[in-house]
Amino acid sequence: MSPPIEYELRRRTFLAGAATLTASTALPWTANAKESGMQTANAEPVGPETSRISLRVNGESRTLELDNRTSLLDALREHMGLTGTKKGCDHGQCGACTVSVNGQRINSCLSLAVMHEGDEVTTIEGLGTPDDLHPMQAAFAEHDGFQCGYCTPGQICSATAVLEEIKAGVPSYVTGDLTGPIEMSDAEIRERMSGNICRCGAYSNILAAINDVAES
């Protein structure tokens, strides 16, 4: 038996003052007082803080004057009235905001609208309507691939893209042979859909819906 790898546990420091201060002793503490990011402290914008952008959304040309800070997600929801795309976390951690840009799915929350000049965006509203469902939307309805419905538009936008990605041979973490064609398997679909969280836990039904569309 070889000797264990030697390491030394790092010691914890006590909270400032905690060891010496007694109950309910005042410890004034001003938070948020410091600037973060060294090189950016106190810098000011050097140009306009808004921009005019033109893009196509669901086949329609749109031109908007937007605060540079506006995410593509908020541009859709707050400035174009397209609230089908959802804000679940606003930090790229849930997938509810998934839309297609120039044929690729992205998290619209982590993208500035101003960086989409001339882009083609497709949202859930561009796939189908209640009276004329896209096959993926119909499959989600048929297989009960949702419960609360909030992650659903993102799941559906992702699902349509996943089928294209598999066909295009984009590999995933579960792809076996990286040099051959990729099989349309449950494992491939599950792995590729993992950027879309469904807290209601409709995953099995979503898988059934995607398989249904994949097979037809």
Binding site: L15, A18, L21, T22, A23, T25, L27, P28, W29, T30, A31, N32, A33, D67, R69, T70, D74, R77, E78, T83, G84, K86, K87, G88, C89, D90, H91, Q93, C94, A96, T123, E125, T129, P130, L133, F140, A141, D144, Q147, C148, G149, Y150, C151, P153, I156, R190, E191, S194, G195, N196, I197, C198, R199, C200, G201, A202, Y203, S204, N205, L207
Partner: protein, 727 residues
Amino acid sequence: MEFNRPAGQNLFDKARIVGKPHTRVDAPLKVTGTAPYAYERNDVVRSHLVGYPIGSEIAKGKITAIDAGAARKAPGVRVVITTLEIEPLGIWNYNVARLFGGNVVEHYQQAIAVVVADTFEQARAAAHLVNVTYEIDEDAEFDLDAAFARLEGTGEPSTNVGDFDAAFADAPVTLDEMYRTPSQTHAMMEPHASIVDWSDGGEMTVWTSNQMIEWNRQALATTFSIDPDTIRVESPYIGGGFGGKLWLRADAVLAALGSRATGQPVKLALPRPFMMNNTTHRSATVQRIRLGATRDGKLTAIGHEAASHTLPGGRGENATAQTPYFYAGENRRVMHHLVDMHLPEASDMRAPGEASGLMALEIAMDEMAEKLGIDPVEFRILNDTQVNPSKPSVPFSERHFVECLRRGAEKFGWADRNMTPGGRREGQWLIGHGMAGAYRGNLTLPSGARARLSDGKLIIETDMTDIGTGSYTIIAETAAETMGLSMDAVEVRLGNSAWPVSSGSGGQFGASSSTAGVYAACLALRDEIAERIGAQEAEFRDGNVVAGNTATPLSEIDGELVGEDTMTFGKFHTEEYLMATFGAHFVEVGVHIGTGETRLRRMLAVCDSGRILNPVTARSQVLGGMVMGIGAALSEHLATDTGRGFFVNHDLAGYEVAVHADIPEQEVVFLDTLDPVATPLKSKGVGELGICGVAAAIANAAYNASGVRVRDYPITLDRMIDRLPAI
């Protein structure tokens, strides 16, 4: 009407619609993104402003100063309201921490200010300009283990039957182990969000995301000391709740204050990284379980002592909830310690109590079965009871737990499993099987509805909510069934305080209570229709009201007829019976021999919940519970910084709920049972049953796979890595 004795034969026993699979009536809206959620009510609210919340950066203490000067001067800012400028707001019955007002900080990220601006970008930026000075109160404890050690054995048991100590001492086979479950967060996909119009300080309209419309209205009235009749609450679509949206929370309160101050509607959604400390969560638990049994497997002593944390005056997470009732045994002592802690507000999350309790108890049962050398399925069957074991004069209304176990074992192929822990390997995966029992109490609450018949169209109005549970669909089914109409002839309107007060959604009471209420309203409408056509007795079928030999199409009844009623439940419910739901979970897992990662390979749930109103939506509820159970077993854990008193991993990257790749093949079986004691529809809840026991089944399977017994959740690889077999 009052439901005051068990239901006899009724129309639901010959149902055409109820109990049959129906896709959701709201599916076309949800799959197209056209169902409007709270923050999206552009259809009813125009020219609103946007609010952004600011939370406390300490867990306990006082705010001595808030400097909002820079924020107030920032572009687009209409108002900044700080907690120091507002008298402490009222606190409604089930809220614990104050939602706003005053200088006291009770928990991390408690709301202490709101910025209202023309746009979201402006409000968010200005919020970062607010500087707050605190006086920290260091007299705060955040260590539940230490608290349990201090409190163990003190206080009065909640159940004390027979002589536990003597029975445990005498038992030939005993188990005495400690178990721990972590704090968990609901993490529903839609953040708490509200638009509030309180522009003139008179009528208040609240478009929100809330499970309980009437509670929300009452809570708003108490919070702002206003007449509840001046408040209207709407919540037709809710992006998940799981108990996290049972309560009025800061989103609506801050939006209301902002609206009042600016004279315009204000919308506000809680930012995701803020939610997990600002809103409620399921408390961690520390549990000691002691079991004593005879050598042939009869439990003689059951001891369960647990602790959970809460803000002073709150409810915590009573992990002993099931222990007085689930298994037979003549001697038992059950006790729950509520430990005051200035962590964020602990409150209800899906199956509060049982979800955490069964995570421990069902491991303990597995361990005891192993000590006895009895199959864990058989051990549970041996200790089944048809009466409340803590009060044997009270029977269960219906209990088919044994059938759940037997059906599940057969369907899963339980008999074929490897019984030697660590004894089956496929490549680098150790394969194991585990099972657990499921128990969740069944509640009903009074529930009202209005049924309008107009030009052959039936409209149901109730303040009931659909949080993804399928309320729209099962209510339409109930109404169509009762009125003899087709599903297309029914429109269901939910989630509006203008409509009769319902049970709301929570505690798995929503489906059975609200459909009973809709049934009562439809019966009232039937009386109106019968009276209109001058009939003493009438039947309703195929779109007609039939009296004697005359069938009158409902579409030919002129004008509008309205029936309204509330179903209430008589005392027999709770006094003469114990009502609960039951299940059994069977799972197969793989534990990676190198890394200790545990992954699910297949899952089966068998459920006994009385009549299943719609197998499509009920199945989805159970599947969802199983998914949440996977998270609870393997990854979900609000990590507590016990120095500073807050949940550290407070976003959806740090708090890992199950994703698609975690989910194996899942199967759900519903026993064909009825519970006439429950409601006229003979149905019970199912949405919370689905999570109960799942995590323990996974824990037991992980043990069977690896030979490593883990009693602290989540069962992450670091709890196994030093005990795994050689690669």
